[in-house]
């Protein structure tokens, strides 16, 4: 086939392998590689169970024994009585897992919980396939049709035995649950490209059309109660309980469709002057009839001075390119059907009694509709330079400004309107940044060295909010009794931390007595030495919600990364690390509603009359001054970290040996992921991002006990035949 003007390729690859047993949950991750370049394709799903267990671990009192082998060691008779419960959880060796005393609410002994969840697992298989047809009917013209699919199958099996964890946490019936889901996404793209050159003028035209559909998903799950099993191993759906002891549910996803038309013109003169213009029209199923489509043009121009005659070839500057571009892109990340008023089920209420009682299904308008909802647009201006010096030193720098208008959000609405917030093009924002990348590659004899480093700096500013809205508070980042902890306002950064200003610690009663409002009233009448002094920003006679201000930025100012490749003879080493700097993390690991919850060891440095040089307020029951119930900088910590993500050392066997073994290649390697992290942050993991697992909803850097990333060690073989 090769060598002919028509080439037909069908490439279809499916590679799946299960990996990594982790803690008590079996993690199955699928990894699919692209046959053409060997790089991973998206499609790895890793779900982390156990956030609440992680939180339990820190909040449980250290006085709760991990295990109890002799009940006589428990002196409190009321506490000892708890172990009489036949469903108290026991370790394999017969000893009891310690049962927390009163005051821990649903916090349970994490080991007891793990014991009862052994075997439960989540699984997922992703199958990704791509195929394309390419045709070249006349020279320079290329027609190409691509289809891609991603099929995900995922679910979980969980058995919960009858168990007694504490006075307020127990399972009275055993349950066996299984969920099976699948999701299909597929894309189709058709493009026509035409390449033509006249002398040094090179043209490339592209016309294309695409169709992208995702979230075509289906799921079913079922639960059996009271099956005769005591653990996951003995549980089976072949036990058939009575109909009353079976429940099931199912779900359908809502399709999300985008279709696009696009065209592009590329022109260059002798690879010295480069121009590209692109325009695309994208349509989304998430917007109403008048706003379905968005038009997104972009332009770029480049100049390569090193190809100019007036810069002679030299050994210092081998290559230089200056780039400038301006382009608009669109985003439709918002709930489906936000543009049209809908009624939804689920507002149910029972009428009647006894066996005639019926739970009636109520329907009510789901949210207010926003028929004007439209594409969020980001206009980006970028000026950059690429250069190569001395053959082996590469340098790239970029300055950019991204103006995002009509950010799609569901800002909170006042509760008095009675309906949930509606989707809005709620805000405009500007991000300005600089990015640098430096690379160095050198080969000396048997020695091979490659270093790549990059850093980017970002400044974020909100430029506009909806009319009538002075600020937006993100409810998803509310923390226990502190209420909302972030606020977004014009002129500030997105979702800045918003709380009381901490003026330090009161060192004496005299200081407290001197802290008064204009009328002479004590501002903090409940304070004692060792408590936090809060700023009275509005100058009235109380410290209350109106004294809050912006106290920290959750978005890193800088992110950076470094990759080092070293090769010596048959040995190779790869190290890759990255980090962030300049953000604050809200450290919310401790449960405020459990006064006896454990503390981290930092509390040993709390203020006492003899330990006054500290920022940690005194330890006191009920916290009358609100040291921890008024959100101030005591909750914020620097989010700076550097993490060595990958370290791999490999050895490739000499060809003489592999030839004997009839192999093309034999390489052995050892590898560690997440080997170490340099940080002052005292939570589990400073790398939070935005995730529900972290607990911050849509807000960066809110840590409510996100499950930390595991450190892993691998030994591997690469074998090629």
């Amino acid at each position: 086939m090769k060598g002919r003007s028509t080439l037909i390729f069908f490439i279809f690859c499916i590679l799946l392998f299960p990996a990594a047993l982790f803690a008590q949950d079996i993690k199955v991750s699928g990894k699919v590689t692209d046959q053409t370049d060997g790089g991973p394709l998206p499609g790895v799903t890793v779900s982390l169970e156990g956030t609440t267990r992680a939180t339990s671990a820190i909040n449980l009192s250290p006085l709760t024994p991990v295990t109890v082998s002799d009940l006589n060691t428990i002196t409190d008779p009321a506490q000892r009585l708890l172990y009489n419960n036949p469903a108290a959880v026991r370790a394999p060796n017969g000893s009891y897992y310690g049962i927390p005393g009163l005051g821990f609410q649903e916090m349970t002994n994490p080991l007891a919980y793990i014991q009862n969840n052994l075997g439960n697992y989540n699984w997922s298989h992703d199958i990704v396939g791509n195929a394309y047809v390419e045709a070249s009917p006349i020279p320079g013209l290329k027609l190409r049709s691509t289809i891609g699919t991603k099929m995900s199958f995922y679910g979980n099996d969980a058995f919960t035995p009858v168990a007694y964890y504490s006075t307020s946490s127990s399972n009275a019936t055993s349950t066996f649950y299984r969920a099976i889901n699948y999701t299909l996404a597929y894309t189709q793209e058709n493009t026509a490209t035409y390449t033509k050159s006249f002398g040094k003028n090179n043209f490339n035209f592209l016309l294309g059309e695409g169709y992208y559909r995702d979230n075509y998903s289906r799921g079913v799950n079922t639960t059996f109660y009271n099956i005769p099993a005591t653990d996951f191993g003995s549980a089976s759906f072949n036990y058939k309980p009575t109909a009353a002891d079976r429940t099931s549910d199912a779900s359908d996803g809502t399709d999300h469709i985008v279709n696009s038309l696009f065209s592009r013109v590329q022109y260059d003169y002798d690879e010295k002057y480069l121009f590209t213009a692109l325009v695309r029209r994208d349509g989304s199923s998430r917007f109403g009839a008048n706003h379905k489509f968005g038009y997104f043009p972009s332009f770029s121009a480049g100049w390569v001075p090193t190809r100019e005659d007036f810069i002679p070839k030299n050994d210092v500057l081998n290559f230089m390119k200056i780039r400038a571009s301006y382009g608009i892109t669109g985003n439709d990340v918002i709930g489906d059907f936000s543009y049209v008023p809908l009624v939804a089920s689920g507002s149910n209420y029972p009428f009647g009694s006894g066996s005639s009682q019926l739970i009636n299904v109520g329907y009510s308008p789901a949210t207010a509709a926003n028929p004007d909802l439209k594409w969020e647009q980001t206009a980006q201006t970028d000026i950059g330079i690429d250069a190569t010096f001395f053959q082996n030193l590469t340098f790239t720098a970029d300055w950019y400004r991204k103006k995002t208008t009509g950010i799609l959000q569901n800002p909170p609405t006042p509760a008095y309107v009675g309906y949930l917030s509606s989707a809005e093009n709620a805000a405009d924002m500007q991000n300005t940044g600089i990015e640098f990348e430096v690379g160095y590659h050198k080969k000396v004899g048997d020695f091979n060295l490659g270093i790549n480093a990059n850093a980017s700096f970002l400044k974020n500013k909100v430029t506009k909010l909806l009319p009538g809205v002075d600020y937006i508070e993100d409810n998803t980042a509310a923390f226990q009794t502190l209420g909302n902890i972030t606020r977004t306002a014009v002129g500030g950064a997105y979702n800045e931390f918003y709380g009381y200003k901490n003026l330090g610690i009161f060192q004496s009663q005299a200081e407290i007595n001197a802290y008064r409002g204009p009328s002479g009233a004590l501002l903090q009448p409940n304070a004692k030495p060792g408590d936090i002094k809060f700023a009275n920003l509005n100058g009235d006679n109380t410290i209350d919600a109106s004294d809050r201000t912006y106290i920290g930025n959750p978005t890193p100012k800088m992110t950076y990364g470094i990759t080092i490749n070293v090769g010596y003879k048959n040995f190779d080493l790869v190290a890759f690390g990255s980090g962030v700097a300049g953000n604050q993390i809200f450290q919310g690991l401790r449960r405020l509603d459990i006064p006896s919850a454990n503390y981290q060891t930092d509390i040993l440095n709390a203020w006492t009359p003899t330990n006054t040089n500290t920022s940690i307020p005194r330890l006191v029951a009920n916290d009358p001054n609100g040291n921890y119930t008024k959100f101030s900088s005591v909750y914020l910590q620097s989010g700076n970290y550097f993490r060595l993500r990958t370290l791999q050392v490999g050895y490739t066997f000499p060809k003489a040996i592999t030839d004997k073994m009839k192999m093309q290649k034999l390489r052995i390697y050892i590898m560690s992921e997440n080997l170490f992290t340099i940080t002052k942050y005292n939570g589990y993991d400073p790398e939070l991002g935005v995730s529900n697992d972290a607990g911050g909803g849509g807000v960066f850097s809110v840590d409510r006990g996100a499950y930390p990333q595991a450190r892993s060690f691998l030994i591997g073989l690469n074998v090629g035949f």
Binding site: T167, D252, D255, G362, Y416, G483, S596
Partner: protein, 510 residues
Amino acid sequence: MKRNISYIIAFAAGVMLLGSCKKALDVNPQDRILVDNYYKTSADAFAGVVSVYDQFGYQTSGLYDKVAIADVASDDQLTGGGSPTDLNDLQVLSHYTLNPTIGPQLYLWTRGFTGIYRANVVLQKVPGITMDAALKTRLLAETQALRAIFYFDLVRFFKNVPLLTEPVPQTDLYNVVQAPPTDVYALIEKDLIAAIPGLPATVPAATEGGRLTKGAAQAVLGKVYLTEKKYDLAAAQFAIVNGTTPGQPNTTYGYALLPNYADLWNPTNKFNSESVLEIVHSSTSNGAWSNAGASEGNLLNIITGPRGYSTVKTGAPDYYPGYSFLVFTKAFYDFIHYDPRNMATVANLDSLQTNGIANYSPGYDNTGYFLGKYIGRQSDKTTTGQIELNFPQDIYEIRLADTYMMEAEALINSGGSGSAGSRAYILFNAVRARVGLNPIDVTMPNIMNERRLELAGEGIRYFDLIRWGTAASVLAFKGFVAGRDEILPIPQTELNNTKLVQSKEWGGTK
């Protein structure tokens, strides 16, 4: 040949899609129905009204409801629970340390205004449906009465609330202002008066129990008038509910006091003759911890149960172990100790434990005296789903003993006699006679005592204390501040970006 085929494949794939752009973006909304296609049939109208009732029975995922709030705000009960901050919203109310950010107010506010919004949608959409006229009238009357009930709770708890009679358009989200309380009361009266003729005198309990009746709306209206100190009007409404011969069944509505007080708290006794209006619960909705508030089960049943309860001797009460909230104070126990209603009202775990009959783990602020009326029982736990969240016991919004005593209160306050032979006397003593107590004259102090005993733990006393003006003195020991704690603060988040103003009592200007 091969070459031609590949052209055709590529070209066909392209053509197939090029023409289909706009239409290809249409997606089936699944369970969601366009509002424009809804509110067309009587079933749609009914489902709309059900959604209003849903808010009437709404409990928060934080495991409390209106009754729990009013209970802990009273002098007779403490929040209890597992620790000083367990169900913190209730703890701060119980100790009167709440503030605009922390407390149960956002739950109450949301319950009311979501209900009002849904009612306003029904009142806007249902009149246009072509359907049976009598059914339409009834559904609209139920909705209007429910709207009045939501406003009555809101205006009592918050005093300064917006008065919305139709859905707020999106363009006016932030332009809403509060109305004078007198305007709110005027709407409540108007809604109830308009609703009463359209409501049925009785409903078949087995299938429609829990739906609004004439008597229920009249009882609410009477209570509204009583709160407004319009005693004549109040007495007139209560008289219709209580019937011509108190103590005997109401011949129109069938209301009568249950002969045995304890039977009121048997969960199978839904919609009994004493029940005027109740919040319906069910053990079959499969409520789960992922959204406890969406359960139709009674959450009071689990939070009031003693922690770690276990029976020792046979014959011990079959309480389901719970979270030990809403415990009675020692003072209240001493007050009710020798009253015949003691056994049905108070679960005396202190005595059960001392006598070796049952065991439990004392919670925070433990007194040993639990709210027996609402503790979940092993015998009525659900057979499917999460036991804790699916208890079936209903909660009385209004029952006849309450309306008897409210009529008596209205009568003597409008100058009527409370002595033997008077209607007030007959009403009041019918309540006492039911539990075997001798008749006494109707005086305000006697009414205050009797209501405290008869209605203990039912979420009524706090409102009584406010209505009688005695809250400041009675609740002082809990930290109640006169001139502040008669109402709850407007939730802080409702002041964000809006034209709402905090009440004067809470440092605002309204």
